[in-house]
Assembly symmetry: D3
Homo-oligomer: 321 residues x 6
């Protein structure tokens, strides 16, 4: 409870202003929430996740499930602060986010020069922040596999809902950014949804989703078929040696664990299940990731943001180990 709140008490650098600072893995906040369909508030997600991460320290950072302390290793892990982003014009906001991610990822060296460029765990913000992140990663790695933990598909094509009020800007929102990423050629044919339980427009949603090359793992699979079934499905779909992006919408968890999110869906995963899956797929080539949709105004006693901080920790562990 002491000190200025950076993620896990990590050193803070204003990475966007100071392109010379080298590091290997960074947290980057993206306080953006104006592409949501229901409850806003995820703009306060980065602040909440940082506050909830204060019990993480490098001294007490050994991940017992991974047998590894990501904060004491070859890698320099820092907190880059937030990307400044306007809350009143999404077109501008996506430009801001895209430029920021490009700058962060493309134009600097990591500490370990033999390593890949610096990698980021983005702290949302709503789920649409995945798009600028993947645009930047695509510049370096080309197409990416996406492992998408979410109650929802987020591959909804906006043209499926023609409207008198259509606009380009409204095409990108927190339910369509995976569709957009596919449209822009950022994704491979080896993608996975895990934790799905959303209501649908109809089975045509799945047809669209198939076109975007996603395997769908339903929320119930983890308890009706078992965690190893889920792990196997993921590992059979995503090649271990190609660049992979892991995106965690905290609503993949049941609302009891993530009341602080925008679009609750009853019947979700338990935190232990998500952590177990994340650890079980740590062998993949994770080049970027995010934890999104933490909306603290609806949280209770930091439960959601503590889960968010834990997920970020697991992703960092996977990146560094």
């Amino acid at each position: 409870f002491q000190g200025i709140n950076t993620f896990a008490h990590l050193d803070h650098h204003k990475c966007l202003l100071d392109p010379e600072t080298p590091y290997d893995v960074a947290l980057i906040g993206v306080p953006f929430d104006t592409a949501v369909s229901y409850r806003p508030g995820a703009r306060f997600g980065p602040r909440a996740i940082r506050a909830a991460s204060q019990r993480q320290t490098s001294l007490r950072g050994y991940n017992q499930r991974a047998n590894f302390n990501p904060y004491q290793s070859w890698a320099k892990v820092i907190d880059c602060g937030d990307i400044p982003v306007t809350p009143v014009d999404n077109s501008v906001a996506f430009l801001q986010m895209t430029e920021a991610f490009k700058e962060l990822i493309s134009e600097r060296k990591s500490v370990d020069s033999t390593s890949v460029p610096p990698r980021y765990v983005a702290l949302g913000g709503d789920h649409s922040i995945l798009l600028p992140h993947m645009r930047a990663l695509h510049k370096i790695y080309g197409r990416l596999n996406v492992i998408h933990f979410d109650a929802h598909l987020d591959t909804w094509a906006p043209d499926k809902y023609p409207s008198f009020w259509h606009s380009d800007q409204s095409e990108i929102n927190h339910g369509s950014m995976l569709w957009k990423a596919h449209e822009e050629g950022l994704t491979t044919r080896h993608n996975v949804h895990a934790g799905l339980r959303t209501k649908l427009s109809g089975l045509e949603d799945y047809e669209d989703d198939d076109t975007q090359h996603f395997l769908r793992i339903h929320a119930d699979d983890i308890w009706l078929k078992g965690p190893e079934y889920v792990v196997k499905q993921i590992l059979d779909t995503v090649p271990a040696d190609t660049p992979t992006y892991i995106s965690v919408d905290v609503d993949v968890l049941d609302p009891a664990f993530t009341s602080g999110t925008g679009t609750q869906e009853p019947g979700g995963w338990l935190p232990r299940e998500l952590i177990h899956i994340l650890r079980s797929i740590e062998g993949l080539t994770v080049v970027g990731g995010d934890v999104v949709e933490v909306s603290p105004a609806y949280d209770n006693a930091e439960i959601t943001s503590t889960n968010g901080a834990q997920i970020a920790y697991e992703l960092i562990t996977s990146m560094v180990k």
Copy 2:
């Protein structure tokens, strides 16, 4: 988040005032909570469930677990608003509820004239609202099987607790209405409790319960014996082709998922378990049902009422499919 809050944005009709409106399935709120033994507040349950149902729409209403969209089908599904009921005199209140249910159920036609009369999912309100609902259903269908999801027995006989202050009115409360329904001959010999974990007066509670022909499925059975065990127990007990009433006291779920209820019992079901069971018994002949004991003053970020809205949706799916 737009528009006057009816359940799932369904059309609203004041069904009690307008007996001519035809429909097949209706939501009906019963804002009554003065028959409770501990925390009151379920009078605000219908409002809370409606608010929490706003992310349900007919366009995005396809139930993927059921392969069916109950809001786009042969059936007209509407929201009938609330039954007006006094909060200061339970005897009068039960008259009001009983008259209202009788009028709603007995005296009108459904849209589909080949179908059964209109059916209702009642939104409680405390659990005692089951009694007037079943009284009305009995007029049409005769005795009903009851599938009762609850942490508690609710078959407690009031004469078991003789008191200086006994009164007829206090005989009917949210722990005795199943006993009363049995007394009045409304129930069959094929009834089930699922999710039980209440403390008891002693084993004589089970003897009374046996007399009322209930099979008891304890809360732990679903994880120690498995969900298919629970499904089989229910389907072995309740004949598929006789009229069945499904009553869901949200306290069947663990308090983490239903803090907004009157009488928490640790160790309950997970929402995914309840949804799975409801879907697995959809083949039964469901002629009425309820979701009760949502008490929003104790809820956190609409978790309980969102679960309540989901349960109503699952019941409607079963009725319409």
Copy 3:
């Protein structure tokens, strides 16, 4: 606590879909909150204000401070529901709101044909919804006096903050819409701010504000100089017989009374002071008004939304009396 939640149990008409319904005064919800600078969430304001208004009824609606029952009078008062508005594209959203208000105000008759056209109390939503409302009113009444209850100026000119990321869309937000209204020629030279206590960029903010012809009444005036001073300042500034718009940002009240708002400013008015001022200026020609910035995720036990519902009630009283 009974029945579908319309404002004060008033009749609900979908006024935008049904232009034939006559009425004199209507509530209209504007669930828009993507023009805010800090906490979002006011999109749930209309729902919350309606829920908090449930203890208002026409039978128990006599306003003792006004000696008048606005729900039992010559005027037909109804609830028109909400204006549908996109949450992901503000340019489109302002088109939607502007078209809706124009349609509501310009193209229909009131019940009392000798009266002015129907008038509206808009339930926000963030403060920027004032702009489309005033654009529509201007079509009928020409320039309007504005009485603006707020902790903040909301006359900030966007060109005062040049930015690399400037966009037309971001010009209109909940701190600049009064400036925009002035730019568009919607306001007169007789306007008042009341309750001000915001931090400033500097005294040049006041110069800009002077240009827009606002008298500034600071928050402390009401207790250091007295309520009659405030009343006199308003009545000396605003001509009683010219069309006037009253806009109430609930943050004019101290945060203890309106925790459920976006931008708290310590040191605000008490609800009794605001009600007293509103009643004391009831002789003005109020042709439109709003209650904005109710953001229920931050509210406690409906205090903010109950104050919002009371303010709407006072405005309706002034319109009808």
Copy 4:
């Protein structure tokens, strides 16, 4: 924060079971809330007030505004626990409460034999508990003056609202118990309402109220006319030497100070105003009193119940000094 929660750590006696214990002033909880028109929950009021009173102790109990420590004086002050009362049958409940109060008041001696019989501060519970309390006091003292701090009149005659569903039981509720007390001849012609700001049915409400001999002090009087005006109005109305009952509905305070109550009315008194008035009228002959309508499920951080505990402390001070 230590020890079993009695009011202010006072000794606890089960006074109803043990009629021999002598004392002079007692707290008595009345956990009854099924006569309310809106939010229930005041059954948990006594528990909440006791918890919030834990910072009161006899060692640190000197009331500086009164220059007196009511817990260290000639009087024995104790906590009598709660009256057991059914939550499912109001007719029975009123019998229970009436019998209990009669027994407590009529049939025992105080410690100081020269003194009046033991006196009680009742901790509500909803406001209707005033009725059994006054019935018992009437047995000893005859008619009582009532000083009624409340936003509401609570003198509403039930026959003013004829209903198909009329019942004797529903005649007594938390808005009519003063009318009933007048009907039963319990009150004098010297009664006061203070803090009124309720909406009315119409001016006929005041006519009824006049018939019941109440002076009405409106909420705004305390700040528009000053506290001494209010004090003078009360002291001019209530004879100092005749038995007086002081009843404090915590909704007399503004909802910011009493969010934990059933029927919020914006524009109420500040706690310091209420305390000042209570101290200024301490010379009256207070033979009984209550603090009612504390409903902790809606409270925030014990603000309401702390105010409730303070009010009880002020009443005890007045009784003992």
Copy 5:
């Protein structure tokens, strides 16, 4: 909701002041929380657990999982209130607690003279209260087996963290008290941690823990290996016929079930799992126990404290059965 809040409405005796009262099993509150590393507030744990236990009564106290009613048996079960303990000097506080426990345990007779001395379930308070409890038990029973349900090890040796600011007092805190108990020779070689998932300093934490003779059962074991695996591990480690202390840190449960605690760790047990384990090991010789780390300021609708009250009930059942 009626009556002064003792645990489960049990009789209250001030056991420390009155050494003559005989009893067999007692609840004893320890409102101490100044040995915590993160969130304080557990000083209000005893009050909260008592309030949450109000739905437990001896009449409705039959534990169906145990086939036993611990409140109606050979044993006299009472509530001894709280140990007074200073919140501003931990050295003094540990003296106070140690003296109190010694006095409670060593110097009095149980009701059943053939039985062991009175036994206690301590209601925390932070986890460090285990130390004085075990010191007192050791006087009678000698070394004790410890079954420690916790997310954390709590065997951390303070000398592992040398500091400029070292002090004897800071050696004992809620993460080191098991180390201290081992240092003082209070524990046997047959101890178990269950539910572990804390981050570590490194594997050397386990080496220290081994030295203190603890078997470690990780949180995931209960769902990945099954509950019977956990039961067998415990029963294979702890001899059934030697004195055993069961300590339950409520953070062994997932934060969704225990938001009201000091140091949340995602991925914990479900309440039904903990209850099942407690019941499955009821054959052990339980001579003392505790429920600790309930911090109600962070709780939601009493979920955590209701779980705490249930755990106490299970421990009492095991002691009495």
Copy 6:
């Protein structure tokens, strides 16, 4: 809502580690709360105040009541982060705090070399942190006048409460630190309490307080006698040209404005009154100050911490202007 949370987005320097950084005024957090008598939690006060200060920026930092922008002036204002302080040993903690303050104040230069040494606004933490702050200031300035805004005296002499369990450590707590400051000769004869309304042990508390040379301004004076009376009392007591320390316990405000504090006292000041007084005494020679007792676990929607941040801002304004 963007960026790492420093106070008002000011630059952050780890001042204790880097004694070379020059500055004029600094915020310094003191996350200490183990000297409290009731609710703990103020250790999270600095974090909460910083979060609530995010709407303060230097660009929009003009204090209109003071006609001055303290963030754009001759003075360099920064955020020094927190003093590390143990939560489990108060003796050590006071050493840590005292050393830290001495180092911060005594051993460095301000930016403006003509000015006094750097000055600090301490963000509590509980009120006892005043003591180390004043100890350090005394090294430079000698005896200080204290203006103490508080509901409580905080001059209680520990020897007034002899106890079997007395200890030196417990002498310093959040109710006695002013007594200790007087004992140590840190204070002058010109001190003021403002906002008092605590219950007392008796009038002897005032005698002790007189000995410590405090003028007492009671909470009611500000509304019964007026704000100018209060200002005059302060200015008549405290010499304008001698070093003065301003300490603000947020419980001087009524609990509705500061639910997030440890020891609520009904009947407090309104925020506008406190701000007005602070501005009216800005001519004094303020060499240090604090805002203490913000305990966010009990706060609602950041009301308390927003008031805390405003108070800090007013103190900084007074220091810099």
